[in-house]
């Protein structure tokens, strides 16, 4: 039972990350391949603040996510106005640097031996892991709701314009560099929040958790579900993580000898489905959704011609 709650909580974190990637990549066109890095700064930042400096958990999460946001802001200053490939390489490199630093700075992070134990908040209450899962659920629902608000807003429209043709948007007076930088920093900060909330889930932090496989899992889920759809992240994570990591690994009656093959089989399936999606449904399972804006009656009649 505890394991299932852990898996569900983790799945919610994945949905949150994919949702943020939907904003970064789906809306603004920023290919962030360093998701695990921003998440990891939140994770380890929270862990260090909580364990070494006795900062209360929620304050530690807030502080650590500011660190993620700052890292996102600085990286954006350095590379966001360069090509997509440069952004891709730089974000991937940043996450590798963060993972390496966490191994090497063992005085702070515990190195390969790890860092623990981070307890759930709410003291000795029974079922605090369930309460915490509900808390993550609320945060993730808020993220999905906010990104729908973004899609329907003037800012979202500007992001889409920047993604489609940044030079043209700039020529109309839009400060595209600044808009992208702030959106990137804020969403990276929120990835940090999700990282901080993952700290009590994992309880014990080890550098292995910062492997790039998390980034790829989130990307695969988003591309599968539909990078341009507000619910693409949710659907994508359900059919990848939900289906394989929870349903099959927990419930499928696989004999022990074959069980060790499951992770490989999972990767094989991910790859196969991804290829099919890219070939037959490049916009993902859900496709794209459009801003929902209240229809207004056409007002041209009766409006005096501008003079």
């Amino acid at each position: 039972m505890d394991y299932l709650i852990f898996s569900f909580s983790l799945m919610l974190v994945y949905i949150g990350l994919a949702q943020l990637l939907h904003i970064q990549f789906g809306m603004a066109g920023i290919p962030n391949f360093g998701v695990v890095g921003f998440w990891g700064l939140g994770l380890y930042g929270t862990g260090v603040l909580y364990l070494t400096y006795d900062v209360p958990l929620f304050i530690a999460i807030a502080m650590a996510s500011l660190l993620s946001a700052a890292a996102g802001y600085v990286l954006a200053l350095l590379v966001l106005q360069r090509s997509g490939q440069a952004v891709l390489a730089a974000t991937l490199a940043l996450s590798a640097i963060i993972a390496t630093l966490i191994v090497s700075e063992k005085d702070i992070t515990g190195g390969v031996q790890g860092l623990g134990t981070i307890k759930f908040p709410f003291g000795d209450m029974d079922g605090r892991n369930i309460v915490f899962m509900v808390f993550i659920l609320i945060v993730v629902i808020a993220l999905v709701w906010l990104s729908a608000k973004l899609r329907d807003s003037r800012m979202g429209r500007q992001l889409v314009a920047i993604r489609d043709n940044e030079e043209l948007a700039a020529s109309l007076g839009k400060n595209t560099a600044s808009t992208k930088r702030w959106v990137f920093a804020v969403t990276c900060g929120m990835m940090g929040v999700l990282g901080g909330m993952s700290a009590p889930l994992h309880q014990f932090l080890v550098p292995y958790q910062l492997a790039p496989s998390l980034t790829f899992a989130v990307w695969i889920a988003l591309v599968l579900g539909g990078k341009g759809h507000n619910l693409g992240a949710t659907v994508g994570v359900f059919v990848t993580f939900g289906l394989f990591d929870i349903l099959i690994e927990t419930y499928a009656p696989v004999p022990a000898e074959q069980a060790i093959l499951l992770p490989n089989f999972k990767l094989f399936c991910y790859g196969l489905v991804l290829i099919m999606i890219i070939m037959f449904r490049p916009r993902g399972m859900l496709g794209e959704d459009k801003p929902r804006v209240r229809a207004r009656p056409a007002q041209a009649q009766g409006v005096p011609r501008e003079t």
Binding site: K149, M155, E167, A170, K174
Partner: protein
Amino acid sequence: MRLEAQNLTKAYHAHEVVNIKNVTFGSGGLEGLIGPNGAGKSTLMGLLTRRIAPTSGDIQLDVGNGVHKLNPLKSHEVARIGLIKTNQRIQGFDSLTIKDSLRLAATPPKDEGFASLFAKERDSDEIEAKVAQLVEAFPFTDRNGYAMSGGEKKLVDILRCLIAEPKLFLMDEPTAGLPDDITRMVMDMVRQKVANGEMRVVVVEHDLPMIWEYCDYVHFLSEGSILFDGTPEEVKSNRVVAEKYMGV
């Protein structure tokens, strides 16, 4: 209104495509910029709006609130001062409908921050009215949908700039890709705005009858340099222009 460039040059590798001692735009109402293919007209407009970095030279713009030096500015800052240009080659936002594209251009950037997530209405009645008025003035296939043909995209490009209310408006070949009647509608609208004192205009064109009809003043650019300026009558009867351009 005065847009001025001194000693403006642009070279690609060793090949100099613009080399202008001095040129001033914006003192006439509707000005033309003509010249043979490859003369450097589009490059000049890109330089003036800071979309292309010059090799050397200074650009200043005065829209009535002091002189702005454009050299240190980015293209969006130039646009905010009021210098906006249309594109010779079709440009657009593929995911935005015609109206959304216009609403985007009509929205001041300060209204597009994070706070806009929680705005009650996405666009003000004022912007909706402006957009509806522009879109309904032209025969789009689907007024509530996307620009279908190249011509519609070109028209949206022009309307997008107009709705942003430039003070000095640069048009790079508005007739290319547009049907004649639409071109006339656009140019009549532009001429009306100029007459109302809303803006000044520079139009690059190969369609000379249109230039003679609409322009008050014409600049002739050839091989990167301004060779002659004058009224349409003066330019028409100029020997250099005739030789270099009109093939006489």
